[in-house]
Symmetry: C2
Subunit: 162 residues, 2 copies
């Protein structure tokens, strides 16, 4: 029951993208460099985000990834879904339909009580993630940022955006 490391990587990368001027992006190598992460592996995760429609990819010189829609319309759940998929963590295999006391398949009240309890829990979990958008996080991060770090970022971005 552990989440892929890629979720953390891409979440931070998307927050960085959200801080950029509208319409601009960064290549995967730069997104990895910003947090000192393995470039090839970061590239793989960004592909997943592109497939899911969270970011758009631009090939060729000066290309890279940029958010596919405004940061206020991208939630943490969108990122989790892109990396991990939308399948629930708890998979009900309906084991109650087998065994010496099993009733005929159609006679059960479905879904089973255990399954529905876990479904409720996951729905609550997803609701919390859907309530947090990239713009929320970017705003909070920006409000806590020191002037020094803000200057460092501006200088670094200037070198990347050319």
């Amino acid at each position: 029951m552990k989440m892929s490391e890629g979720v953390e990587w891409t979440a931070h990368a998307c927050v960085l993208l959200a801080a950029l001027p509208q319409g601009t992006g960064l290549p995967a190598a730069a997104l990895a460099e910003f947090h000192t992460l393995a470039p090839a592996y970061m590239a793989k995760h960004m592909q997943a985000l592109a497939r899911a429609g969270v970011v758009e990819s631009v090939r060729g010189a000066g290309g890279g990834y940029r958010l596919a829609r405004p940061a206020a319309e991208i939630s943490l759940w969108d990122i989790v879904e892109a990396i991990e998929g939308s399948a629930p963590a708890f998979r009900c295999t309906e084991i109650r339909k087998d065994g010496p006391c099993a009733a005929p398949a159609g006679s059960f009240h479905r879904p089973c009580e255990i399954h529905s309890a876990f479904s409720r829990a996951e729905t609550a979990w997803r609701a919390e993630l859907k309530a947090v958008t990239l713009s929320d996080i970017a705003a909070m991060v920006a409000s806590k940022m020191t002037a020094q770090r803000r200057a460092d970022m501006a200088a670094w971005l200037a070198g990347k955006l050319g």
Copy 2:
């Protein structure tokens, strides 16, 4: 991001134990047989529940597993924690402390915004699971059970508890 199959297995097994007369139990082999599951693997999972204090084990002839406390005091979260451990699914590795724009380690507002958002989501998830007890599930299952199945179960249990 998928949960161990053992959670489903042991959850159903515990509901069965909750339906038994107070103080009585069943061996792991019987718990597996009831849902046609691999006996050895079920035994392994029941060991985890015993280590976590959710069930008590009794060795020797006529022994087996029984709930360590009343069914109303055992939640689904207790079972998940026993099988999966209590570590959160999202592990923050603090990647923000590295990179060309990283500030000194102590200067960050902690925890990071992404981390706290995932923590809130997992807290909500756990709260839902903690709100559901074995007695809740057992009561719902019992209320939906047909007379035929109730008789089958009584006969099967008589053969096991014999």
